[in-house]
């Protein structure tokens, strides 16, 4: 499925990408800033995400909530922050296209005059509640904190989560906002995608008119990566949590998004963990019945990816039993590889999933978001065919190869999560951790 587009770079460095689709009277505006939690430093984590919240609280020429002018004309809007980027989007009825563009450009050019201590304090509380809801007050919710801290050394930009440490969020200061805005929120560090019921020429004209006068800032340097010793062997961690059943997380570092090996790991995740005919579901849940669920996933990011296998022990079983079976399945794949049919049907699913994802012009993961992802991370919004080709050329041997190269014992983090009073269910020799 081809996404036709045109791209133009404004004099101030802003990339503008336009994709026409007149099927629905809707326009999607999608703006990426190439900044995420990777650009933070220890002691100041969570700031990129807190900043994202402030972007909805008003700008110099519209000094009140960004939701009202768009929801009152039937539009929808949101934003998100991850390790690598922060995105903002609106999907609006066709006649509201200029309004959406006006608002996006106003907060890119004129955010700071509207920012007050009161807005800052309130959104800090909202973010702390977001953290409570999605991490602290949720079973297994703090696992990602422990996993990322173990996979990446303290000065690596992926050592901490995007939501940040709560003490860091409390310590964030209004004064930090200004420097952050100047460094990252300017046209030369952004990419604008417009998709839907617009004419390409008119969309470029509107983008130039709204964004063309916003001065470029210096392109930020990519975050420094610390020198790392080779992995010294497996690390075993134990987390005691308010959970019912013990759960095992096995995680490894894998090649970055779009790098050789990334697509192989993605397809491997399907072979291991997608659907009821995949290898781990058959082995753990169906046949031996020692687990209640299992999943596998390649989480692809700009600087490094991670691959995780997650399995929950059935009552009466411990995590060492699960680990032994998972290790055996990985070893089989390493030595014998998957069957050709296994690769074929998982490839069919990956390809169909991409088509399903591209049905919508806006929102998280829609066509406008995907065009920006390709543009920001590869420099080419037309990377789609090359992206799909990575999967089309995969062979069973290549799958066995990534298991051998990346999913080995030396680089593995094994995290056991157990209920209070059940340390016996964990893998032996695990070190207790206290993520918060």
């Amino acid at each position: 499925m081809q996404i036709d587009y045109e791209k133009e770079t404004l004099d101030n460095g802003l990339d503008v990408i336009v994709h026409e689709d007149h099927g629905c009277p809707l326009v999607a505006v999608n703006l990426w800033y190439h900044v995420g939690s990777k650009d933070e430093r220890p002691g100041r984590t969570g700031f990129a995400h807190l900043f994202e919240h402030l972007m909805f609280e008003g700008s110099a020429h519209h000094d009140s909530s960004y939701f009202s002018p768009l929801q009152e004309i039937g539009g929808t809007l949101n934003g998100s922050t991850n390790t690598d980027r922060t995105n903002y989007w609106e999907v609006v009825p066709t006649p509201a296209f200029e309004r959406a563009l006006w608002m996006e450009s106003d907060r890119m050019g004129f955010l700071l005059p509207a920012l007050t201590a009161e807005k800052f304090e309130t959104q800090r509380e909202v973010v702390l509640n977001e953290r409570r809801q999605n991490y602290e007050n949720r079973p297994y919710g703090l696992v990602p904190v422990a996993l990322m801290a173990a996979l990446y050394p303290p000065r690596h930009p992926y050592h901490w989560l995007t939501i940040g440490d709560p003490d860091d969020v409390r310590a964030a200061e209004l004064a930090d906002v200004k420097a952050f805005f100047a460094a990252y929120y300017h046209p030369a560090n952004a990419s604008l995608a417009i998709a839907g019921d617009v004419r390409t020429g008119a969309a470029f004209e509107a983008a130039r008119r709204h964004f063309g006068d916003i001065p470029a800032g210096p392109r930020p340097a990519p975050p420094a990566l610390p020198a790392e010793p080779a992995p010294a062997g497996e690390r075993r961690l134990l987390l005691v949590d308010r959970v019912e059943l013990p759960r095992l997380y096995l995680a490894w570092r894998t090649p970055p998004l779009y790098a050789p090996g990334d697509a192989e790991c993605d397809l491997l995740a399907g072979i291991l963990g997608d659907g009821k005919s995949c290898r781990l579901y058959r082995a753990l849940v169906h046949d031996r019945q020692i687990a209640t669920d299992v999943s596998a996933g390649q989480s692809s990011h700009e600087l490094s990816s991670s691959f995780a296998v997650v399995a929950t022990a059935a009552p009466g079983h411990d995590l060492a039993e699960l680990e032994a079976v998972i290790a055996e399945e990985l070893e089989t794949l390493r030595t014998a590889g998957p069957t050709a049919d296994e690769v074929e049907r998982n490839r069919a699913c990956v390809e169909a999933d991409f088509v399903y994802q591209m049905q919508t012009v806006g929102g998280f993961g829609g066509r406008s978001d995907q065009l920006n992802a390709y543009n920001v991370l590869t420099g080419d919004p037309g990377y789609g065919p090359a992206d799909r080709a990575r999967y089309a050329r995969l062979t069973p041997d290549a799958i066995g190869q990534v298991v051998d190269t990346f999913l080995n014992a030396a680089g593995r983090v094994a995290l056991s999560v157990v209920p209070e009073g059940r340390p016996d269910a964990a893998l032996p020799d695990s070190t207790r951790v206290h993520p918060r």
Partner: protein, 452 residues
């Protein structure tokens, strides 16, 4: 530079034609709704079956969902592995949902696999294998799921709200059921329930995808084989009235919780209520979107929560009106007080303003095309038409009906259908004595609800 002294005005919306449903009836009374949707090479199929959680027999809470969960464990012709491999080869994404009023088997695939997709869908629902070993295994997995949900504050709040609000009414339990009930269920109960409740009209097939409507209807007719469904028999009893209510509060303790998970509401009205349109507008003012009163109050003014929302759950019977919110523990008392105040005040002291009404109507009407962008969305609209017996052109008439809702209609609907004196509050969090004077809110003494 654009004119930055004011926001750009927004002109009138262009006309938007909804995909039109075509309809046919197959043998056995199977209803088919189809709509061509030529945007992407995708086909979404739904099978709407007349057996949701409200059809669970007394003391067998969870039977409908257990039965539906077994659909993809193999059929008369295919083992479970064969079935799942066949689904993957067509990029098929299968999803089973058990609502209160119906069960749904959904399959999204590429349009070119329409024939195989339909074959698998009917195979799954009409001829499940119900192997005794599979039934026991899947039942035990669901029991383990229930045990895990006890640790999720949001899941506990959902369960307690349904139980405390509806009691022994068919809406008084979640689809997953209870551990006690599931332990007593086996292959005989499942097979019997499938025969009595699932293999019975009316089945509805909804097909939306990159084919002409007539071609979709023909594909469905071709895939259907006669004689699968028994006769309609005696229709099941209608839903009774929910029990009467007074304002009260129940809690489920979660020691040391950093947030309180709150549900606040009461039974609403059936989907077929003539007040559906006025209540839809009212909900947008009160809590249906970001700029609604309760979210602006609790999140944007006070910072108590990541988000608060209200909804009317539109069911065949009286589904709940409910506020859902998680708030930091120290703010529990104040958040409840504010929420009750907002629900009471929208009924009169502070009725929706003209600006709020305009925003609410716009959200429902100008945002309307967004709900029909994908085959999946259009197919879900088709299911609502089938479930509630709405006319096929319901969605074409939706916008003018919402636009016709006036301030008086909303106020009257609020006064009639929001009942502050009958609110049930559910709090899952620290014990009430930690939270402060909850009884002072007028809910009486909080009552601890049994663990499920």
């Amino acid at each position: 530079m654009p004119d930055r002294t004011r926001l750009p005005a927004v002109g009138a919306d262009p006309t938007f034609s909804l995909p039109a449903f075509e309809r046919t009836t197959l043998s056995d009374g199977v209803q088919v709704l189809a709509a061509g949707h030529q945007r992407a090479p995708v086909l979404t199929l739904f099978l709407l079956l007349p057996a949701g959680a409200a059809a669970d027999p007394p003391h067998q809470a969870g039977l409908a969902a257990l039965t539906a969960d077994l659909f993809d464990e193999g059929s008369a012709a295919l083992s479970d592995v064969e079935l799942h491999r066949a689904l993957m080869r067509i990029g098929g994404r299968l999803g089973t949902e058990v609502w209160s009023d119906a069960a749904v088997v959904g399959l999204t695939t590429l349009s070119r696999h329409a024939r195989e997709g339909l074959r698998l869908l009917f195979e799954i629902a009409a001829r499940p294998r119900f192997d005794p070993g599979d039934v026991a295994r899947v039942r035990d997995l669901r029991i383990n799921r229930i045990r895990q949900l006890r640790r999720s504050a949001a899941a506990v709040a959902e369960r307690v709200f349904a139980e405390a609000l509806y009691g022994s009414h068919p809406y008084g339990h979640l689809a997953i059921g209870t551990e006690t009930a599931l332990r007593a269920l086996g292959p005989a109960e499942v097979a019997d329930f499938h025969r009595r409740r699932y293999l019975r009209p009316p089945w509805t097939v909804v097909a939306v995808g990159d084919l002409a409507s007539e071609a979709l209807l023909a594909e469905v007719a071709r895939a259907w084989d006669e004689g699968v469904l028994g006769d309609a028999g005696t229709p099941p009893d209608g839903l009774p009235e929910p029990p009467p209510l007074t304002r009260r509060m129940v809690f489920s303790a979660r020691e040391g919780a950093v947030q309180s998970e709150i549900r606040l509401g009461h039974p609403g009205v059936p989907r077929t209520s003539p007040d559906f349109y006025a209540l839809s507008v009212l909900n947008m003012v009160l809590g249906g979107q970001f700029v609604s009163r309760i979210n602006l109050n609790l999140r944007e003014e006070k910072g108590y929560t990541y988000g608060a929302r209200t909804s009317f759950d539109w069911r065949v019977g009286r589904g709940p009106f409910c506020l859902q919110v998680g708030v930091q523990t120290a703010a529990t008392l104040d958040a409840l007080r504010e929420a009750v105040r907002e629900i009471a005040e929208v009924r009169g002291p502070r009725p929706p303003s003209p600006r709020e009404l305009e925003t609410a109507r716009a959200a429902l009407t100008r945002g309307f095309p967004r709900s029909f962008e994908t085959a999946y969305q259009v197919a879900r609209a088709g299911m609502r038409i089938a479930l509630h017996g709405l006319p096929d052109d319901h969605y074409a008439r939706f916008v003018p009906r919402i636009m016709a809702v006036g301030a008086d209609d909303v106020l009257r609907a609020a006064q009639r259908h929001l009942r502050p004196d009958e609110l049930l509050a559910v709090v899952v969090g620290s014990r009430p004595d930690v939270l402060g004077d909850l009884a002072g809110l007028g809910f009486g003494d909080p009552v601890e609800w049994p663990a499920g």
